[in-house]
Symmetry: D2
Subunit: 446 residues, 4 copies
């Protein structure tokens, strides 16, 4: 291959040639033409066939036609400002029920009706959820797509209403086509393959998922639970595929060690809260002896926060010593050196407790997992040392994990306290630990 042709090839990869762009534009236009037809009178009578045709055409679009397609969706299916103004005027003159309804129709983008009609085709819901997934990946660089996303959110919130979701237990009797999705989607503690998965579905484990009737082989969200004799303080024993099954006859504790949203296209439509609570009910029914329902959760923001806090730490009493010690955190295997670990523990544990309880952004906890569980009405109960020593666990939180407790009698008041006063409900031990933190002591010393 000579030099010019290589250059051409490289260029083609970065900037698609004008021809290809034109073709993509044309193809996007063709799909949009079908969408207009679907919204017309013709769509009313031949809806299913047209919807099928439009979705098929969309799915055959080349990758570089996606952006033009969404641009057209954003441009051509929005309500007309003049119509809105007229409807508002009528409503302002006479705020009757009929005029309000007319105004609601005027502000509703025709896109919503388009999405409803596309959904009529078999498999339509899956295509639309996937369309949003792809759109979200480029939403930040295309802010005018927000209007399209708002229509998606509006419809998907209705369609994926909890009342339409089925809770199902996942176990070794589940079809392989669903099980492979668990392996693929698991976001918290990677599943290494079928043997690993089999262990996670054994008799001393439970796995539940929400399914939607329009996505038959696709879990919407799933949760993994271990039945244990006491609150787990480390995740590796729960994940070990070779660990023998334990009997559940004496189990008094259910540990939620992983919860995964499977559908990126449903981002922002929350199911986790509902799933956890329903699973608590299911487990209580199957195992009346269960007393404690708690998570064993990662603390994803701790290490980043710690790095950002180095100036404050350095400025605190004994700060120099701490900064020196923290250099060990760069060593990948520091946790396996007993003396290093022993010296880090009394420093890191209080700092992490402080992070969880005190570190805030706009009044809410900085840590996203804390935000989720506290928002659900859970409370923080116990911080665990060397609890997740996987590469990932060491990197995000220096191996620390925390248990959030779900006590159904308290979730409502906890949630209220959290929402109204931004109060973090934590155990006495955790709060005490936070108070022992280097950063708390600084003011006293000054």
């Amino acid at each position: 291959m000579n030099a010019p042709s290589l250059l051409k090839k490289l260029l083609r990869r970065v900037v698609p040639p004008i021809d290809s762009q034109r073709s993509a534009q044309r193809k996007a236009h063709n799909v949009i033409a079908l969408c207009h037809a679907l919204l017309s009178e013709r769509g009313e009578v031949s809806g299913t066939a047209l919807a099928r045709e439009a979705l098929a055409a969309y799915e055959e679009l080349p990758a570089n036609a996606f952006k033009p397609f969404i641009n057209l969706l954003a441009d051509e299916f929005s309500p007309a400002p003049a119509d809105i103004a007229a409807a508002f005027k009528a409503y302002q003159d006479n705020p009757s029920a009929l005029n309000l309804i007319a105004l609601q129709h005027a502000v509703e983008p025709p896109r919503q009706e388009l999405f409803r009609r596309l959904n009529v085709a078999a498999g339509g819901t899956a295509v639309l959820v996937d369309m949003r997934r792809r759109m979200l990946r480029e939403l930040q660089s295309n802010p005018h797509w927000l209007a399209v996303d708002a229509d998606f959110v509006h419809l998907l919130s209705s369609w994926f209403n909890r009342g339409f979701l089925r809770l199902e237990r996942i176990d070794w009797h589940t079809p392989a086509i669903v099980l492979e999705k668990l392996i693929q989607y698991e976001a918290v503690h990677e599943i290494a393959g079928w043997q690993d998965l089999h262990r996670r579905l054994a008799n001393d484990r439970r796995c539940f998922a929400f399914f939607h009737p329009a996505l038959p082989d696709e879990p919407v969200i799933f949760i993994e639970v271990a039945l244990t004799d006491r609150i787990s303080d480390a995740v590796q024993p729960l994940l070990d595929p070779d660990k023998a099954e334990s009997s559940t006859t004496r189990s008094d504790c259910a540990i939620f060690f992983s919860i995964t949203n499977c559908q990126d296209g449903l981002r922002g439509i929350s199911f986790g809260n509902l799933l956890i609570k329903q699973v608590v009910h299911e487990l209580s029914r199957e195992f009346p002896r269960l007393k404690i329902f708690a998570t064993l959760s990662p603390i994803p923001g701790f290490r980043a926060w710690l790095d950002a806090m180095m100036p404050e730490i350095s400025a605190s009493a004994r700060g120099a010593e701490a900064v020196e010690l923290f250099k060990h955190l760069q060593e990948p295997d520091w946790f396996s050196k007993p003396d290093v670990a022993a010296r880090l523990q009394p420093l890191l544990m209080p700092l992490c407790a402080y992070y969880l309880i005190e570190a805030k952004k706009d009044g809410e906890p900085l840590d996203p997992v804390a935000r989720f569980h506290l928002g659900n009405g859970a409370s923080m109960t116990q911080l665990n040392w060397l609890s997740d020593t996987s590469k990932h666990g060491m990197k995000r939180s220096a191996g620390l994990m925390v248990n959030y407790l779900y006590r159904l009698d308290d979730v409502e008041s906890n949630h209220q306290a959290f929402v109204v006063g931004h109060r973090v409900v934590a155990s006495y031990a955790l709060k005490k630990l936070a108070r022992e933190c280097l950063l708390m002591q600084t003011p006293d010393k000054n």
Copy 2:
């Protein structure tokens, strides 16, 4: 019982005593208070439990609390005009995507979110559909309920999107709990009991229904089909429970003889069009020999129209004679008198053809069944004499019935012709018949 107490009792029935009204009002308020709680922060975390509680309280409301309850729904969950005005102003100043979204939120009644949250409880969808059913019965006398109904229509249209409905065949393997609903709901040709039903589900019949996942034992709409050797011109042979099953190996015709919407609470959300077309596909797959798909339909408005037209008829040529003859229509058994029937036929058939093709209201066919099938893209093909001699059939259409033809290749153009030019697509024979009508000849004679 003495006279005063009888009077009291009668009065109580008509006008509930003030006490009872106050109590009803109070109970309605209590349910509304739960609805407000469900919409609050508290509802976010305890949604399912609160939704269950609110629905249970609603279902225990006494009959006379229903109206106060809907009144409160209409009053307390509407958007604030000031908020709407503010959002419109911001949008007018800058019609950005974000401002449009904000305006959409401002005009959306909180009722919609309330309904979404109520739907979260198990069985919630069924309660909401039934709530609308009851509301519709009194909507005319409570026009301000329109706003509530608009919210129902908006949500139910999304929830009952065709993409979420399952087509299922109904036969003798179907659970009794579903079959008894058919007996209960059948609106066109009453089902006399289980034996009658059994015949309608035999091998030379087909019955299909749409089901929604949230209403598991409730058909949404169902259709009954007879497989025949040629187009049926009379319905009694199709309904006769004692008629022997015929073989379907030579059937070339599928006659849709009954289509019933089961859920009054879903009125205005149309499924019939989609059901008919999907059933045509299903039957074509099972019976590749089928050539003709047609209905055998009632003409519900014919007799009423005929009565209303008496002055014009009377004024027409041979009008006096006709009016004299039409007196026989008052006799319940005129159709069994050969000479009477023989004289009525040449008068009634053309008049009915004229009614179907020419009688209009706002440009659309006066007959509601004609409106439905022509709107779906069907064409009128054949008018049938003494086709439904049941009491009901004689009363509504003097025993006449008509076949609408579903030819999938033509439905789109038929529909287009109907919608755009209000054109009634009918066979040559029917149009010729209409031209022979008394009323058509009048002008010529003048």
Copy 3:
């Protein structure tokens, strides 16, 4: 029709003409030829197709070919005496395992292998069960068919082993095709139609059936249970279709009021014993409050026995008076005359208790229902006056019914007592009642 032809017609009905008999004989031979083919080498490779063909040919046999067909089955598929003798001789000379196996093969009729091969066709089991049903109806007049029946019993006992039966609850969610079988088969208390059936499947009732995988829509046996607050002493309240459902929250008693074997072709292969016990387990799980499991059973042989005992009764002390009183039993409505009933009760109750406990045949209770339940290990607990006042109930047992108690802890010892010593386990009250009987007092008076 003239006289001779009428005579001919009558004759034809009684004695089929020789032609028809010959044709039937020929057709039976044809089916038998297919059976021989199925047993041959050819059957080994084309088994399924041949089995299908043979069964189809069998099912098309005219009614009068059935007897010739079974005759041929009895004649042509029996083992050869010479083979048996030879095999026995070898076994006698050397009673080795191999020689015993050879002898077993020699005595096994080829019919068994024929039935096994017929069963291979889809639906084969149902045809064979029905073949035996028809055969049993004429077995008494064809004693040589016993050999055929023995082969049926041998195979059906294996095929319908309890291990292959599924217990299923029958309720209003059950397919109509199964429910109509209950109406058709119910043998103890006739089901008057679908409304009656619906009441028997309501929330305060339970119905369970055994199903076999090869007879998918056919219950093998079913049982009906009422959940009550105390032991029922009358059956009409349990059967009343208009009676309101009662709450089951306080129920402490399960009354088995009907148990029906559905398949005459499985006669002699007992399931009732197993069904009752498994249903006791199922109900205990669903309703932990249940304390008493009892039947409310007919006493089918009482009236016939009473009539047969008239000489003894007449000869007893106060015999004349009793015989006079018993004349009232001929009046169909005697039970609705309080004075007659009041005088009959002190006579009939002890006699019936005596019948149940003392009347024997070959050492076993004369009453077949008593034999069944006592053989299962139940005990007699209570005799009930005017307990079944239906026409049938009055006729078979003068309206009396009895409760058999199933106490799982006792069934084994009760059964043992019954089998070994022919002991009837009955409550003290019942035994006392029996001792008060007219017939017991006779000897004292002599």
Copy 4:
């Protein structure tokens, strides 16, 4: 561990100490005692509970109690010779139906009734099938167990009658608990794991299995099929997990490349014949274009036969040269050396054809796979060079494989020819190839 104890430990492994043997003997006796109870009167009423107890006790037997247990089964549940002699005498005197039935009962070991009663417990069938599996492993060294095995065969043949088996398609929607059994059982071409399995269940493959209702998650036998454009001549392309799926729209050929009996405990009860034929029907329905149904089968006995034939080969014309060439067969990778392969092919192909067609034992083909397919009525159609170059394939048949053709119209006559005249139905090409074989030419040269 000191030396003596090591010796003791080793000894214990080979010869269990007397204590352990006595204990095993005692435990076996205990289970047998339960078996006797189950056969007694007591078993009639408490059957299910006793069966459960006996099976549980059996399953807890230590490994060294199995043999004593089966010995006791063989000794204590056989019919009494005296009873047999008496029944035979009665039959000989009067060979009536009743006397024949009595004789049949006399020769039937009580073991059969014992097995029937054990089968009543939940899961009983699985335990019995497994009991036979274990027994078969030691049957040769315990010939007196033949009597027990005969009873197993008698009952299992009835219970696993084809009429009770369900054909099910296995694909990626099948529960993992079933799929892992395929990986575990596959006997012809090992499945390397879940990815390999997934490929074998893709759209251009089909897998079917027979299931029995009493063994819900256990396939009885399964078959793997590839849909191809023409007859496959090599198996590696079919097994390659990375090969892209091919479209099935033009497929005209179904290749059965693996058939596996899963249950050793059902040995001798044949399903393969029935499975293949039913799968041919299923595939014909799904793919009406399919013209050819053929296997791609191993030739397991070829290499062993070839070695045994060396003297004859050596004695033939050009024998010395052949023997010299055959030394290459010891080299594991000879097939990858083009010149070696090219010289071996003209020698091996005719010899293998000769082996398949002419090598016999007791008149039947020596090769077991040939015996199976020819016995089913298939014909041999094509011999394939370097068709299975796996280690296993090279070792058993020098890489050769053969296609057996299933033409449903011919199977009956093929089978007949095979059974009656021991005729091997093979294609002209194959027969010609066999005639070219070294061994065939010998006589001519002499």
